[in-house]
Chain length 464, copies 2
Amino acid sequence: MNMSRTRDTRERLVVIGGDAAGMSAASQARRLKGPDELEIVAFERGHFTSYSACGIPYWVGGEVTEPDQLIARTPEEHRERDIDLRMRTEVMEIDVGRQRVRARDLESGAESWTSYDKLVIATGARPIRPDMPGVDAPGVHGVQTLDDGQALIDTLAHTRGRKAVVVGAGYIGVEMAEALINRGYEVTVINRGSEPMSTLDPDMGRLVHEAMEGLGITMADDAAVTKVLTGEDGRVRAVATENAEYPADVVVLGIGVRPETTLAKAAGLPLGSHGGLLTDLAMRVRGHENIWAGGDCVEVLDLVSGQERHIALGTHANKHGQVIGTGVGGGYATFPGVVGTAVSKVCDLEIARTGLREKDARRVGLQFVSVTIESTSRAGYYPGASPMTVKMLAERRTGRLLGVQIVGREGAGKRVDIAAVALTAGMTVEQMTALDLGYAPPFSPVWDPVLVAARKAAAKVRAS
Amino acid sequence: MNMSRTRDTRERLVVIGGDAAGMSAASQARRLKGPDELEIVAFERGHFTSYSACGIPYWVGGEVTEPDQLIARTPEEHRERDIDLRMRTEVMEIDVGRQRVRARDLESGAESWTSYDKLVIATGARPIRPDMPGVDAPGVHGVQTLDDGQALIDTLAHTRGRKAVVVGAGYIGVEMAEALINRGYEVTVINRGSEPMSTLDPDMGRLVHEAMEGLGITMADDAAVTKVLTGEDGRVRAVATENAEYPADVVVLGIGVRPETTLAKAAGLPLGSHGGLLTDLAMRVRGHENIWAGGDCVEVLDLVSGQERHIALGTHANKHGQVIGTGVGGGYATFPGVVGTAVSKVCDLEIARTGLREKDARRVGLQFVSVTIESTSRAGYYPGASPMTVKMLAERRTGRLLGVQIVGREGAGKRVDIAAVALTAGMTVEQMTALDLGYAPPFSPVWDPVLVAARKAAAKVRAS
């Protein structure tokens, strides 16, 4: 093979962002096209590649002992696959017209332009950091990156006091509450909303509130943090809301994230109402046939509401990367959208949801019936059977399933997958009543809790 | 209200069989029609109603301490709902032409005819009892009814030896093996087939074989029992196959069941190739508008193969009863069919299947691709992540999902529900690759094992 000729004609793929979506895309493209056909250059501004940010709470909590366990593939492993990975190098600008990106080496400060034939934007999300006094004080931590996790763990190792405040009561907040309890902290969770887990309806969030209090966590709902108070040493000593002050030796910010699309916006690429990049079904940025985007920086189509949403979740990022890499490599794949499935736990409490909440349904003009049932994870007589609450929404008249929320103990969370598949298939709750789900006493009551909810919802639909 | 006039005009429903299907039907009919509209007479030849036969292994094993826990509703509770329940009364004949049944009081031997306007046949199944010498010896037990379970428990209480032989390695066999291990027995499982769990393909059954051996169970495969050997006291002392003899202080027969359709056959009602009653989608016996049948005595439509099957499972029996009772009560409901989902466990091993095995697919003319993958129940780095093997079959060319089999530990079994819903919806494995399943490190790897299998199957379909 004539290498010089090959080098001249091969295409160059540039990837911005070295985590799940970006490196999955790069790896899949490499599987389909060898280095003689496709050059791959990837820029990552941090110290790590391809890691599980979702695993950080368990590293902080001690279930995971080494950060290396969270890394699916190191920079060296990517380079062995002929990916020219440039670590600690931040892309500062995308020049769409001239098909090039300007990158800065964060160690030396040197900048240079790299041209591309194909571009993948996987810039991820950035944590929401409230703009208030003291938020940058030592002892206040975000938990978005492995670097953040390491900084928090260092702080915990050097903090004598055992009071922790978690700001935010979404997934990150409740998972961090568990982590800090596991490390022996007294934990207070401060939450703007009326109940924790605002991805659930408030009546289901209430169950989470009660269970978290049962775990010894102090729940401060309807509380907006106004400032972080510091001691004489400059470190955090308390968190203040409008009405109260919570002593804190360490503060974790778990308020949520926004798409990191500064570069994309400056380049004039299309953003949606949530600030994320808009793509087509093949994950190409709309209007740009040679630019793909995926992971936490894009908006995704919600198949139930028909509208775009922003969901930062590793499982979507990995799927996006797979689809993008297939497209870049000349194959065919699409990401049709999401139904909004999420599952989480705090100690032995499992929390799951998929589809629309009541307010989501109202917002998009859907009328619905809603039912809530109590059941158990196993046959009632089988040891370890634990209570489970299932809420189900179905469209009025059509009976189409719109959403399911589950709060329970062991065996509750992953039951949401039944509803996730049914939502994807557009099933009605009446159809769901006949689902042939796995039954044996150690696994389920004779009517699975999801079927109990479907039966009740179907009856209500008939009367709607 | 003029009671005498009401009594004259009301219809009579007769139910044959007082367990899941029969009493669910009776109860649902009663919900829809009060005693002034509908008289309900139910015959049960045994001592119990509405019990969980599926729970018997856990009662024998000691997880369930009282048989009462397995009874969903007692005869008295049914009678309080105005159901004229006649216990220990066996129906001897159905006279379809004159719309009446002949029943015998098993205590007194007295017989009488009862006429019906509507009839429900829920005669259940009878265990297969091999016709061989010694099978009726003391110490040899079936486990079909609560009476059987009590007899076995009594034997175990009075048996000094600790050697148990289980004949059959299907669900009942493996569950009884667990029960006997939990009671401290040395257990041998004798199995006609090449591997245990013939509801799985042999390659997946092999995993069950290995795991059961790992639990200390002696597995005798490819072994047909030829006789039961008895001691001088007339009690069982060993089980013989063609090639070997297995000492036994107690023997449990778990070979499976056949539909109990003796009455139906004698009455000229239509039976299928598996010996079960054939019904329409509303669970009416074919050709008979006023006769319904459900539970273990009927055949059900397999939605994947398009053919009838016999599946004795409490969850189906309860659904049938619900559908029948609705129809009897003047409402509308159907049982569209099954996809063949089943889940079981032996100690910490979880075994699940849905859809078609390789030989099922071949038999009905389907060509397919088959993949098997290894994954874990949780993110690999999360404590308690346990290995799981998933086998997936998809139709050649169309890529339609045909079946899934899973063998693993905690968290493996109920994952089969994902495939059960996808089968019901007629999804392709390519569509399944995009399923939005619940992901968080304590619940799943970033690619759920079912998605890993779907991706591999989809790739194979593309090459098929």
